[in-house]
C-alpha cells in the first residue's frame, strides 16, 4: 500500500482514503466472504471496516502496519456480522443431490459441501483464524499479533477449526460411500 496515500488519508484527505478503499475493497471482501460465506454480509463487513478505518486512521501510528490494522478491523466487523443470527438462518445453499456428473478437476461437490457445512458450524473466531492462515497464508504469530490474542489462542482456534473440518470431511466420506456404490450398481 502506498505510504503517501496512507499518510494523506491519515491527515484527513478523503480522496486519498477513497483510493486506498478502492485498492483494498476486493481483498477485504474476499477475506470477509471466506469468513462469513455470504456476499451481502461480507459487503456489510467491508463497508463497516472502511468507515471504521477512515474514522480511526488518525490513530494509526505505524503506517507499515496498515494492512494488519485494517484486517484486524475487518475481522472484528466479521465477528459482528456473524452475531446477527437472524440473517444466518436465511443463508442456506441448495446443492444438487447427484453432484457433478463429470469429475471435478479441483474439488468435488461433496467435498465442497462438507467443508461448507462444517465451516458454518464454526464460531467466527475459529473461522477467522482458519481463513487468515489457509487463505492469506499468514503465520500464526502474525495472526495473533493482528487479532491481538495470545499465540496459544490462535493455535487453539486453528486446531479446533481444522479438527472440525476434517471430521466433517470424514463423516461425509463415510455417508457418501454407500450411496456411491448404490449408484454404480
Amino acid at each position: 500500500m502506498d505510504r503517501t496515500l496512507i499518510e494523506a488519508a491519515r491527515s484527513g484527505d478523503e480522496e486519498a482514503f477513497a483510493s486506498i478503499a478502492r485498492g483494498s475493497a476486493d481483498r477485504l471482501f474476499a477475506v470477509a466472504h471466506r469468513i462469513l460465506r455470504d456476499v451481502g454480509r461480507a459487503e456489510d463487513a467491508v463497508q463497516q471496516t472502511l468507515v471504521t478505518a477512515w474514522r480511526q486512521l488518525p490513530e494509526l501510528r505505524e503506517i507499515d502496519r496498515f494492512e494488519a490494522w485494517i484486517h484486524r478491523i475487518l475481522v472484528h466487523a466479521c465477528y459482528a456480522e456473524a452475531k446477527r443470527a437472524r440473517r444466518w438462518s436465511a443463508n442456506v445453499r441448495l446443492l444438487s443431490v447427484d453432484g457433478l456428473t463429470t469429475p471435478d478437476t479441483t474439488l468435488n461437490v461433496a467435498t465442497r459441501d462438507a467443508l461448507d457445512r462444517g465451516f458454518r458450524r464454526l464460531p467466527p473466531e475459529q473461522r477467522a483464524a482458519f481463513v487468515l492462515h489457509h487463505y492469506l497464508g499468514w503465520p500464526l504469530g502474525e495472526i495473533a499479533e493482528t487479532l491481538d490474542v495470545p499465540l496459544g489462542t490462535v493455535k487453539s482456534r486453528l486446531h479446533y477449526a481444522t479438527s472440525s473440518l476434517r471430521a466433517a470431511l470424514e463423516a461425509d466420506a463415510r455417508t457418501s460411500t454407500p450411496a456411491s456404490r448404490e449408484r454404480m450398481a
Binding site: 484527513g12 478523503e14 477513497a18 478503499a21 478502492r22 475493497a25 476486493d26 477485504l28 471482501f29 474476499a30 466472504h33 471466506r34 459487503e43 467491508v46 463497508q47 463497516q48 472502511l50 468507515v51 471504521t52 477512515w54 474514522r55 480511526q56 486512521l57 488518525p58 490513530e59 501510528r61 490494522w69 484486524r72 472484528h76 466487523a77 465477528y79 459482528a80 452475531k83 446477527r84 443470527a85 479441483t106 474439488l107 467435498t111 465442497r112 467443508l115 481463513v131 489457509h134 487463505y135 504469530g141 499479533e145 491481538d148 490474542v149 495470545p150 499465540l151 496459544g152 493455535k155 487453539s156 486446531h159 479446533y160 481444522t162 479438527s163 473440518l165 476434517r166 470431511l169 470424514e170
Partner: protein, 506 residues
Amino acid sequence: MTTNDFDRTARLWLEDGPTQMSDRALTAALDEIHVTPQRRAWWPARRLPKMNTPIRFATGAAALAVVVVVALAIDGFNLLPGSGIVGASSSPHLPTATTAPGSTATPTGGVGVLTVGDTASLLAPGFYVAADPFLARVSFTVPAGWEGNIGGPYLVALDQPQGPGAVSFSILNKVYADPCHSEKGFLDPLPGSSVDDLATALAHLPGLTVTTPTAVTMAGLQGEQLTLTAPTSSTDCTGGVSRVWALPLGATNDLTPGEVEKLWILDDGGQRLVIDAPQTPGETSATLAQVQGILDSVGIGAGETGEWPVTVQGGSVVGDTTSTLAPGTYVAADPFLLRVTFTVPAGWRGKIGGPYAVFLGQAAGPGAVTLAIFDKVYADPCHADKGFLDPLPGSSVDDLATALARLPGLTATTPTGVTLGGYQGKQLTLTAAASATGCTGGVEQVWELPLGATNTLTPGEIDKVWILDVGGQRLVIDAPQMPGQAKATTAEVQTILDSIGLAQLN
C-alpha cells in the same frame, strides 16, 4: 487424509469464491465516509518517569470506583455487565458476568425500528462502557431490568424489555423532511455537521411540536437540548408513526402518537452525539426516575483508544492496545482489577484484556507474560471438553496452587512460597506433555478467564506460574516458555517479571 492433503483441500476450497466487491457496496461505503468525521488522534503509549515502588496512586480514585466491562472484550457487540464496586472489596471471588442472550430484538418506547445489530441482552445492574464499534466512548449505569446493545458504529440502545423506558445514543445526520411522510425522503440538503445545524433542523420539522433548542452541558460536553412531541394522532402518517431520523446503517427513530422525546445534541470533540430519551403517554414515575438515573450517570469521551478504554490518570497512561510499546515503564489500571506496573524492553506489545487480564507479548517472538484473575480450572487439561474442576478451587492462593499442581496430564512442580511485586504467594511450574495428539484440539487447556479467554499449553510448553494475594485479590502471573526458546527471550521475560509492581485499586 494427511495433513498436507487437508491443507491443499482447504486452500482450494477457500480459493473458490467471489473476490470482487460490488461497485454499489463500495460506493455506499465511500458515501458514508464522506459524512463521517475522523477521530482525533490520540496517542496512548507514553513513557512514565522513573518511579519508585511502592508506587503511589493518589489520583483518579473517584474514576476507579467502578469496574468497567468492555463490550468487545470477548463477545463482540453485546454489552456485558459491570462487576460492581471494587476498591473497598476484599473478596477474592470474581464478579459474576451473567447475560441473558438475545431476549428481544425489538426496542420499545420509540427508540426506533432497528434494522441492524438488534440483538439486545438483559443487563445486570451496573456500570457499563460502550466501546468499539460505537464511535463515541459512552459510559452509563443501568438499574435492574434494562437491556442494551451496541447497534454498530452509530447506535447504542438501552431499553426496558418490560416497560417503556429507553435511552439511546446515536450518531446521525439523516433527518426526514416530513416525519409524518417519511417516503418523501430526507432534508435536502441534510443538516450540517454542527450541533446547532442539527438542533435547528429538528426544531423546524413539520408536524412535530418542538421546544426551542437551549444550550446545555451534559457529561462535561457542550451542546443543545430540545424536546420533540409527536401529534396525538398519526393515523394519516406513513406507518402510523412520525419518523424523525435514520442512522447510517438504516435504523430509524420513530415517534408513536403523543410520544415526547427529549434530545441532547452534544459535541464530543468534533463528533456529534445525540442522546434521546423517549417518554410515552402514561409513563410511570418509576420509569421516568430510572431513565433520569441513566442520563445522570452518562459519561462521554473517557479513554479514547479505538478499542479498549484507556484512561489517563495522574499523568500515567494505561496500556496500549494496538502497537508495539516503546521501551519503558507502564501502568495498567482500568478496567483491570489491579494496578500493575511493569517495564518492557523493545519489541514488546501489551494489552489490557478487560477486568481479568493483562497480556504482554513479544511482537516477533514467543515471549509472553500474562497477568490474570480467574478461578475456572479445567478438570483435565488434555480434555477440556470434560469441563472445569467441580468444585472449582477455593478462593485462596493455596487452593489454586494445589489444584493446578494436581492436574492430570501436566508435570507440575511443588508450589513453593514466593514474593513478587511485594506480595506473597506461591510459585509452581507446569509442563505440558511432549505430545498432545490425543488431546482435545491438540493442546492442553489449563484455565479459563471469566470472559472466555483460555490458557492453552502446546506440547512441551513450560508455564511458570506465580499465584499472589494482592490485598485479598488473587492474581496469577504466568510466563510460558516454548521448547527451544532463545535465551535472550527468556532474559527479557525475566526482566519484565522483575519489574512488576502491584497495588490494589482504592
